[in-house]
């Protein structure tokens, strides 16, 4: 057997990664256009393309696309990308398949903050920013509590981190239930939001969450290589020059930023942060340099289709998209876990 040429092998791998990312970007664009066609009125593909590139379309199709469907589709994509990427980063950091914004209690904390603003009108900010601001504040608060409780002698062992996350999450979940109880005539709106839905999407919401998602993603992408070595082992990472404590903090902050952004506009949507990274681990492997960008893109694509299903399946009624992601996601996840366990590494 001839000896492999590492330069050739590695260069080929990098080119393959570039190709995968390009293909997924194209797939994302196509998914956006395809789902923009679908709705109460179906609009032809070519017309949607024309409208996107500045055309007027027929009738009030331009308004439907640009003012109603596009912000909704974009928000679905952003929420999916944020949740999936936050999940991938946390799973890598904790070397734990169950690590996700939920386990550390961030989603519950964020949801409590948001419901405070919705039900009692309590917020540090006013107007459109009232709900997201409170979600951000409580996501950070949760993170702060969890991180400090679990810190032992300047380090954060994974076990204590996860356990304190569960405890703090349970506490905030109880508070959210209490808010539901208090909400009276707003009950249905709170419940619907808690199940996870994107029906409130508009351009303002999209613009509010974009900066947080960009900041969070960049913070995580910067750490791709460090996360790889930390998956091999903390001591290995330190020996390779990684400041593991700093990486841990940055990943937690970034993940909570993205979770807060997603929760504040869409409530609690489960399984995206769990399933999408898992599927991609099977296809692209454990290397975060390819895992993270593909998770971001596939998370967006996945959510765009799920939300399209949510708004059309019982039209004109809406189904909370969180119900669909759980119903489709859980069995698929179990199937994958059973069948491809070895390849995912856990």
């Amino acid at each position: 057997m001839p000896e492999p040429d590492i330069t050739q092998l590695y260069t080929a791998k990098l080119s393959k990664w570039t190709l995968i990312i390009i293909l997924l970007v194209v797939a994302l664009f196509l998914s956006i256009v395809i789902t923009l066609c679908i709705g109460t009125v179906n609009i032809p593909f070519t017309e949607v393309l024309d409208i996107l590139f500045g055309g007027d379309g027929t009738g009030n199709n331009r308004t439907i696309i640009m003012q109603i469907r596009l912000p909704r589709v974009l928000m679905a994509g952003l929420v999916g990308a944020a949740l999936a990427l936050a999940g991938a980063a946390m799973q890598g950091l904790f070397k734990n398949p169950m690590a996700s914004p939920y386990i550390l209690g961030l989603s519950s904390g964020g949801a409590f903050g948001a419901s405070l603003a919705i039900v009692l009108g309590v917020s540090f900010a006013t107007g459109l920013f009232a709900v997201p601001a409170m979600a951000f504040v409580f996501c950070f608060l949760t993170l702060f509590i969890v991180y400090n409780i679990s810190k032992v002698k300047g380090r954060t062992p994974v076990e204590t981190l996860l356990l304190s996350g569960i405890a703090v999450g349970a506490f905030f979940s109880a508070l959210v239930s209490f808010m539901k109880y208090l909400s009276g005539d707003q009950l249905s709106s709170i419940v619907f939001w808690m199940m996870g839905g994107l029906w409130r999407a508009d351009w303002t919401q999209v613009l509010v969450i974009i900066p947080f998602i960009i900041a969070g993603s960049l913070m995580i992408f910067v750490l791709s290589r460090d996360l790889n070595t930390m998956m091999i082992g903390e001591d290995h990472a330190v020996n390779l020059g990684v400041n593991t404590q700093a990486v841990t903090k940055v990943v937690l902050v970034a993940a909570s930023l993205m979770t807060a952004a997603a929760v504040s506009v869409s409530g609690i949507i489960g399984f995206v942060g769990l399933i999408v990274p898992h599927i991609l681990r099977i296809f692209v492997g454990p290397d975060h340099r390819i895992l993270l960008p593909t998770t971001l893109l596939v998370g967006a694509i996945f959510m765009i289709y799920m939300d399209t299903l949510a708004r059309t399946i019982m039209a004109p009624e809406e189904l909370p998209v969180g119900i669909i992601t759980a119903l489709l996601g859980a069995p698929f996840f179990l199937y994958l876990l059973r069948r491809r366990r070895r390849l995912t590494g856990w």
Binding site: I6, T7, Y10, M231, I232, D235, N239, G241, G345
Partner: protein, 265 residues
Amino acid sequence: MRLVVKDICFAYNSVDVLSQVSFDVHQGQIVGIIGPNGSGKTTMLKCINRVLKPRVGTVLIDDKDLKTLSRKEIALEVGVVPQNNEIRFPFSVMDVVMMGRSPALQTFERESKEDMEIVEEAMRMTNVLKLADREIDQVSGGERQRVIIARALAQRPKILLLDEPTLHLDVNHQLEVLDLVRDLAKREDLTVIMVSHDLDLAARYCDRLIMLSKGEIKAAGEVDNVLTPDNLDEVFKIKAYVKFDEEIGTHRVNIISVSENGRDV
């Protein structure tokens, strides 16, 4: 290359683990650190590359104080093969070795052709090139150990630290890994410091030994000056005689019994 360890003192929770440890190592030598459990061997190794920060004392490589270097800079001076090398994730062998280049790279910098060549060379030296495509969780314990050594070599270090490199390995793999280490020291003039549990293997492969007892150096120097019946009795609590084995050309520790003062009952 010259490594100088001077007056290292280290304490975990105000319990002294190392006190006043000093020694120096010359290029191309294999130095073995031996001692019973809890004598401070692994702590010693971790103090050398400042994973643990000693309360007192300095580590100099070519007169450069490691205190003044960043973690990444230290990683370019010192390569480490840690004790626990169980890897559960399906990184390819090539990818694991490539991680050895990460201290030399900027955040979004792509590996250059030179990096890839360094990795190929490290893999050739350790004879893992043919495993390049295999997943690290699917190779044998001995192969995995050679991969981790390759990764440490890819850091292009001046010193290689090995923590119990033969732990959990079959006998043939133990010899295979240590033969490789000896080859690297000889051919590449690499300096190696190795913690070992196995006195015979330490005697066989090391040029010099440092015997630790309760955080202090009990003896240091040539193998036959360190592995004496008196030292073994005092530090390891065993009655033993040490003989030069003509056939394999090395000293061997022949254990007779547990020392009288070493019995627990």
